[in-house]
């Protein structure tokens, strides 16, 4: 996390921002600047292409289904490494861009310990310590970093088998598959969490903004840093205002 990286990212965010239109309403916060958004969707595009072309070759069950998308088996084989290089190249920039907010902290370990409550959806708001990313998001991010390195280290020998030899390929083959499976599961969970599971999240990656309600609910510590206001107090205010608007017969949301 050198300052050179931070300066580079700050410069990129400004340059991209100057050419983009991100509208932030007064009940909203800017979550992802356009630089982050473009990186995210570039990574996503290459990832999906690499995933589909890879799983075409992964098992005979999928071969006939997926290879026609890319123009047949030989073309699938030809394109897969290039899709992957595109993925890795774009992800390197995202890695630099997010190195600071993705750094693992003690709060993330705390978050992981209560993942059962998170999945069971028993609490209305995230704990006050959850910052820009929660522990789960960071876990997925570092799983991508690990898998991408594994993909690269095992994929290059599979790309040039005469140079690296028979045993490198056969060992790499298994590790490449394992990395792909980890990514597949992570990707499915990521898409679910980013869309249906948390309304408003997809918008942060398309148009860049989130409602303040979204921020104090899912990322209270980030809300505090971004607005200088207390997430819990603002949430309680909003609840009170809502209760006042609706008639007295209402009980208001319980815990």
């Amino acid at each position: 996390m050198s300052t050179a990286v931070e300066r580079f990212d700050e410069g990129a965010r400004e340059r991209f921002g100057a050419h983009a239109r991100t509208i932030v309403h007064d009940d909203e916060l800017l979550r992802h600047p356009v630089y982050t958004r473009i990186l995210h969707w570039s990574v996503a595009g290459f990832f999906i292409l690499a995933l589909l072309s890879g799983f075409a070759i992964y098992t005979p069950w999928l071969y006939r289904v997926l290879t026609p998308i890319f123009g047949g088996g030989p073309m699938t084989r030809l394109l897969h490494p290039w899709f992957s290089l595109g993925f890795v190249a774009c992800f390197v920039f995202q890695l630099l861009n997010w190195l600071q907010p993705m750094t693992w902290t003690r709060d993330d370990t705390r978050w992981m310990r209560r993942i059962r409550e998170y999945v069971a959806n028993t609490e209305r708001r995230e704990p006050d310590y959850v910052d820009f990313f929660n522990g789960g998001q960071k876990l997925y991010f570092w799983a991508i970093v690990g898998s991408a390195m594994l993909f690269l280290v095992t994929g290059i020998p599979m790309w040039f088998p005469r140079t690296f030899g028979r045993s490198m390929v056969s060992i790499g083959y298994v590790l490449h598959d394992i990395a792909a499976l980890v990514m597949l599961v992570g990707f499915i969970v990521h898409v679910y969490e980013g869309t249906a599971a948390m309304p408003g999240t997809l918008h942060s990656m398309t148009r860049g903004t989130v409602e303040k309600r979204w921020a104090w609910t899912h990322h209270p510590a980030w809300y505090r840093r971004a607005t200088g206001r207390d997430a819990r107090a603002d949430y309680d205010d909003a609840v009170r205002q809502q209760a006042a608007r609706t008639s007295g017969a209402d009980r208001g949301p319980g815990s």
Partner: protein
């Protein structure tokens, strides 16, 4: 040889027995290579290149009689030469015809991900179908004999076909036809194995090679190309013939069993996410826009 599949079982209005009834057909073919009588003339190399109509390839001189260091995409048949100093101070000049072994359990076929790129015929010949090959070269890493070779121009892999085009028409492979010493023979696996065993016995008992034997490795279920070697305990001497050829577990255990199971388990995340939504619902930003009156069950 497989010269037809029409075998008569019954004949109408025919008195007496049915000709050929009850005949057992031995379909598996085999190439027999007697290393002890090979003279290294390379007629088989030329015949292979000629019959398969392969383009000329520059040869490499490496201070031996060997045409090139290893087989290549357009050179499927290579005599490997090795000068082996024996313990008694004499020199043994070993020459072995190297080509696809046509394994009973082919590692190339196990490793191949492309539908129909490698087939094994009932007669034991393992054949590459280049029109279905995607050029991934997994076959090369599945092969214990380093046989499949990649052509970077066509992005396809090639190897010896055991002249499946000739064998299908009842002819012997081109290399067999060209051999002047009779050290190459072609026939059913049973016949060739018997011939090889008797020749190995002869070499053991009359030529002073007590370790002479037949190379037909059981670790890959046997091969459809077998060798008679002076010393079957040291096949590595003959240009690196492996004594215990193995298919990597990546292409047996992992590819065949673990991979599909692991994929199903991985895809299980999708219904899990869907039913999580159905059962638990989304995490709405709080307080929700449509206010209360909610009762949780």
């Amino acid at each position: 040889m497989p010269s037809g599949t029409l075998q008569v079982r019954q004949i109408s209005g025919h008195s007496g027995s049915v000709p050929g009834a009850g005949v057992q057909r031995e379909e598996e073919v085999c190439k027999y290579i007697d290393v002890t009588t090979c003279i290294g003339c390379k007629a088989c190399e030329v015949a292979c290149v000629e019959w398969n109509d392969m383009p000329f390839q520059q040869t490499t001189f490496d201070n031996t009689y060997q045409t090139m260091p290893s087989t290549s995409w357009n050179f499927w048949n290579l005599i490997k030469f090795n000068e082996h100093p024996r313990e008694d101070g004499t020199l043994q000049w070993l020459m072995r015809k190297d080509q696809c072994m046509h394994c009973e359990d082919p590692g190339c076929l196990r490793a191949c991900p492309a539908d129909g790129a490698i087939v094994q015929y009932t007669n034991g010949i393992v054949d590459f179908q280049q029109e279905n090959c995607i050029g991934c070269q997994y076959c090369a890493s599945g092969c214990p004999f380093d046989i499949p070779k990649f052509n970077a121009l066509t992005k396809k892999v090639y190897k010896c076909t055991l002249c499946s085009d000739r064998v299908g028409q009842g002819l012997e492979p081109a290399c067999i036809k060209a051999c002047p010493t009779g050290c190459l023979k072609f026939g059913t696996k049973l016949d060739m194995k018997g011939l090889a065993e008797s020749r190995a016995r002869q070499v053991r008992e009359h030529s002073g090679f007590p370790n002479a034997g037949v190379y037909d490795p059981s670790s890959i279920g046997g091969t459809h190309v077998i060798y008679v070697l002076h010393d079957v305990t040291k096949p590595e001497l003959y240009g690196g013939l492996p004594s215990n050829p193995q298919i990597p577990a990546a292409f047996t255990l992992w590819k065949r069993f673990a991979k599909p199971i692991a994929l199903l388990l991985g895809l299980f995340a999708a219904p899990a996410a869907f039913f999580h939504y159905v059962a638990e619902g989304p995490k709405e930003a709080q307080p929700p826009e449509r206010p209360s009156r909610e009762v949780r069950r």
